[in-house]
C-alpha cells in the first residue's frame, strides 16, 4: 500500500488553500475591497419594469401615479427611450415596443419610501410593475408590515414557506434573500438581503409576490439600509 508523504500532503493542502483564496479574490472583489457601505446616495435607485408601457400616454399615467409617493424623485426619473406619442401609437397601429419598458427612479429618501405604496399607486392608475428592482444599497433588509400575524403558526409558516419558495425558485427568484425574521409583536417580517454588488439589482416584487402566495398582504414594505449587521456564525451543535 502506498500512502501520501508529508511533503505531498502539505503541497496538496497548500494548493487547495491558495486556489480557493485566488478564486475568492478574483470572483468576489467586492468582498475584498469594499469597506464603506453605500447608504441613500444619488446612486440608490428603484427601477420599475412595466410590461404595458407602449407610449407616452402610459408613461404620463405612471408619472402621475407616482407623483404623490414619498421617497422617490419622479422629476428626475429616467424614462424609456423611443416611446411613441399617444397620437402616433393610435394612428400607426405600429408594432409593439420591446417589452418591458422601465422607469428608473432616484430614491430621494430611503426611509420614507414604501414599496407597497408605489405598487398601489400604480395599480390605482391601472398599471402594474412586473418587477421593482432596487440597486445601489449594498446592505439592507426589506421590512414588511403584516397586520395579520395572529399566532405562532403564522410566524413559522412564513419562515418555512419562504425558504421553500426560495428553494423552488428555478429561475433564480429570491436568490438575493439571505434569511427571514418574523417579529410577531411588531407584526413585521424582515427579509435580510445578501450583499448587493454595485450594478446588480434585487427584485422586491419577488418578495411581495411570495408573501401574497403565502396568503399575506403587507400594508407596507420598507427598505432598511444596514450600516453594520450582526456578524454571527453557525450554531446548533
Amino acid at each position: 500500500m502506498k500512502f501520501a508523504s508529508v511533503k505531498q500532503i502539505i503541497v496538496m493542502t497548500a494548493i487547495t488553500c491558495v486556489a480557493l483564496f485566488a478564486l475568492d479574490y478574483y470572483k468576489n472583489p467586492q468582498l475584498w475591497h469594499s469597506r464603506s457601505v453605500g447608504m441613500a446616495r444619488p446612486g440608490v435607485r428603484l427601477t420599475l419594469w412595466i410590461n404595458h408601457m407602449c407610449c407616452l400616454g402610459c408613461l404620463a399615467d405612471v408619472r402621475q401615479a407616482l407623483a404623490g409617493v414619498p421617497g422617490i424623485d419622479v422629476d428626475n426619473a429616467t424614462d424609456p427611450k423611443q416611446l411613441l406619442t399617444q397620437a402616433e401609437a393610435k394612428m400607426q397601429g405600429a408594432s409593439l415596443p420591446d417589452y418591458p419598458n422601465a422607469v428608473e427612479l432616484p430614491i430621494s429618501d430611503l426611509k420614507k419610501l414604501d414599496l407597497v405604496a408605489v405598487d398601489r399607486a400604480l395599480r390605482d392608475k391601472g398599471v402594474v410593475a412586473g418587477r421593482m428592482e432596487l440597486s445601489g444599497v449594498e446592505h439592507f433588509r426589506l421590512e414588511a408590515l403584516l397586520e395579520h400575524l395572529c399566532c405562532g403558526m403564522c410566524d413559522s409558516s412564513i419562515q418555512e414557506r419562504i425558504a421553500f419558495l426560495k428553494a423552488n425558485g428555478s429561475a433564480g427568484q429570491l436568490k438575493w434573500l439571505d434569511s427571514v425574521m418574523v417579529d410577531n409583536e411588531k407584526k413585521t417580517v424582515a427579509a435580510h438581503a445578501r450583499f448587493l454588488e454595485p450594478g446588480k439589482t434585487v427584485d422586491v416584487v419577488e418578495f411581495l409576490s411570495g408573501l401574497n402566495y403565502l396568503g399575506y398582504e403587507p400594508s407596507s414594505l420598507r427598505i432598511i439600509a444596514e450600516e453594520k449587521m450582526q456578524q454571527t456564525n453557525h450554531e446548533g451543535e
Binding site: L20, N233, E237
Partner: protein, 405 residues
C-alpha cells in the same frame, strides 16, 4: 527536512490575509429577541476568580462532575474486577456475558460481540462517506461545506463544482489523500472569514485526517476499520472541535442566546438542567448559555482525552440526533456527519486514553502495596485536570468585554 516541511504551512498561514471582510450576510443570523444581562459575563468584585455567582456554581458543578469521572476512570480496572468478580460473581451464562460486555463498553475496553463489530464497521463506512452527502447538500443550497456558510452568487458556481468533485472522490473512495488535503485546505481557507468560523468548522477536519492517512489506492479496498492511530486522531480532533465549540458558546454568548430565542425548545434539556441546578432563575438564559457550553466542553474534553469515550460519545450521539430530529429539523440534516464520526469512535475497539500515565502510576503503587499513594495520585491528578479544564478559560473570559459582539 521534516522540520522545514512542517514550518511551511505555518508560514503560509501567517502570510495569508486573514482579515475578516465585510460580508456578514455569509452567516446565519441568530438575533437576540430580548437583551441579556451583560454584566453576568464580566468580572465581579469580591467573587472567587471574579466570576458571577451562578457562573461559578455551574462551573463548580462541571468541575466536580469531571473530577468524579476522572477519578472513577483511573480506577476502572479495579472497579471492573470488583464488580465482575466480587459483587456479581454468582452470575453465569448470558447474564454474566452481558454484564461483561456492558462493563467493557462503559470502560472503553474492547467489546468482542460480532454485532458490535459489525456496527463499528458500518459506522466507519458512514463516517467516510457522509461528508459527501453534506457537501452535496451544501452545494444545492449555495453554501460552502455547511449550509450556514452561504456562497457569494458571483463565485457560487465554482465552489459548488469543487464540492461536487470532492464529494465524488469521497463517495468512490478515489485518491483519499487528495480528498483529505482538499478538506484541510478548505478549512484553512475559512480563516478568510475569521477565527471563530475556523473554530466552528474544526470537526470537519476529523474526516480529513482519516483521508490523509488512507492509501492512494483507496478505491481498490474496502475501508471498514480505522487503525489505532486514526482512531486516536479522530478522537483528538473531534473532541477538540467540540471543546472549542463549547468555549465559543460562552465567548460569543449573544449568538448562543440568539439560538435559544429562535429555538426555545433547546433550553429544555435534562443534562443542561442538571448543570444549571440551584442557579438564580432571573438569569435563566445566561445560566443556560454557561451550562450548555460547559456540557459541551466536558463532552469534548472527555472524548479528546479518552476518558469514558464511549459513555460521552453516546451522550453526544443522543444530543446530535435530538438536535437534528427534534429541535432544528431539516435545517440541521448535516449533523449526519458528526453523528457518523462519533459513532465511528463509540463502536471502535481501539480506544486509548491520553492520561494512561496516571493509570500506570496508580497500578504501580498498587503492586507496591501503597494504597494511600494510589488514591492521592489519582485524586491530585483528577482535581488538577478538572480545575484547569473548567476554570482556566472561564476565568480568562471575564477579562474580555464581549458585549459588542
Amino acid at each position: 527536512m521534516r522540520h522545514r516541511l512542517l514550518l511551511f504551512p505555518v508560514a503560509v498561514l501567517a502570510l495569508l490575509p486573514i482579515t475578516v471582510v465585510y460580508a456578514h450576510e455569509r452567516f446565519i443570523r441568530h438575533d437576540l429577541k430580548y437583551p441579556l444581562h451583560e454584566e453576568y459575563f464580566g468580572r465581579h468584585a469580591g467573587m472567587f476568580l471574579g466570576l458571577q455567582p451562578d457562573m461559578l456554581r455551574i462551573g463548580t458543578t462541571a468541575c466536580i462532575l469531571l473530577f468524579v469521572f476522572l477519578f472513577i476512570f483511573f480506577f476502572r480496572q479495579n472497579l471492573d474486577v470488583f464488580i465482575e468478580h466480587r459483587l456479581l460473581f454468582r452470575l453465569r451464562g448470558p447474564a454474566q456475558r452481558l454484564l461483561h460486555h456492558l462493563a467493557n463498553f462503559l470502560t472503553d475496553k474492547p467489546v468482542t460481540l460480532p454485532s458490535f463489530h459489525a456496527i463499528g464497521e458500518w459506522a466507519v463506512v458512514l463516517f467516510l462517506r457522509s461528508p459527501a452527502l453534506v457537501l452535496m447538500y451544501s452545494a444545492t443550497n449555495d453554501s460552502l461545506v455547511m449550509p450556514s456558510y452561504p456562497l457569494e452568487p458571483t463565485s457560487a458556481l465554482y465552489f459548488k463544482y469543487i464540492q461536487v468533485v470532492l464529494a465524488i472522490l469521497m463517495l468512490t473512495q478515489t485518491a483519499l489523500p487528495l480528498a483529505g488535503a482538499m478538506v484541510v485546505g478548505t478549512w484553512i481557507y475559512l480563516w478568510r472569514w475569521g477565527w471563530m468560523v475556523v473554530a466552528d468548522a474544526i470537526p470537519v477536519v476529523t474526516v480529513g485526517v482519516v483521508y490523509l492517512t488512507s492509501p492512494w489506492q483507496s478505491y481498490k479496498i474496502a475501508i471498514t476499520e480505522l487503525s489505532e492511530q486514526q482512531v486516536k486522531w479522530v478522537r483528538l480532533v473531534l473532541g477538540f472541535g467540540f471543546l472549542a465549540l463549547g468555549w465559543l458558546k460562552i465567548y460569543n454568548y449573544h449568538l448562543t442566546a440568539g439560538v435559544a430565542d429562535n429555538y426555545p425548545a433547546v433550553m429544555d434539556d435534562p443534562m443542561i438542567h442538571f448543570f444549571a441546578m440551584g442557579t438564580d432563575p432571573a438569569f435563566r438564559r445566561e445560566n443556560w448559555i454557561v451550562a450548555f457550553a460547559l456540557a459541551e466542553v466536558l463532552s469534548g474534553f472527555m472524548v479528546m482525552m479518552g476518558i469514558f469515550t464511549r459513555v460521552w460519545g453516546s451522550l453526544m450521539l443522543w444530543v446530535f440526533i435530538k438536535l437534528m430530529i427534534v429541535n432544528f429539523g431539516w435545517d440541521e440534516i448535516p449533523h449526519i456527519y458528526p453523528i457518523a464520526a462519533t459513532a465511528a469512535i463509540v463502536f471502535s475497539n481501539k480506544l486509548r486514553t491520553e492520561f494512561s500515565f496516571v493509570e500506570r502510576i496508580q497500578q504501580k503503587a498498587a503492586r507496591e502495596g501503597r494504597p494511600f499513594l494510589r488514591v492521592a495520585t489519582v485524586a491530585f491528578a483528577s482535581v488538577t485536570i478538572a480545575v484547569l479544564a473548567v476554570f482556566t478559560l472561564l476565568y480568562a473570559f471575564t477579562f474580555i468585554d464581549r458585549s459588542h459582539f
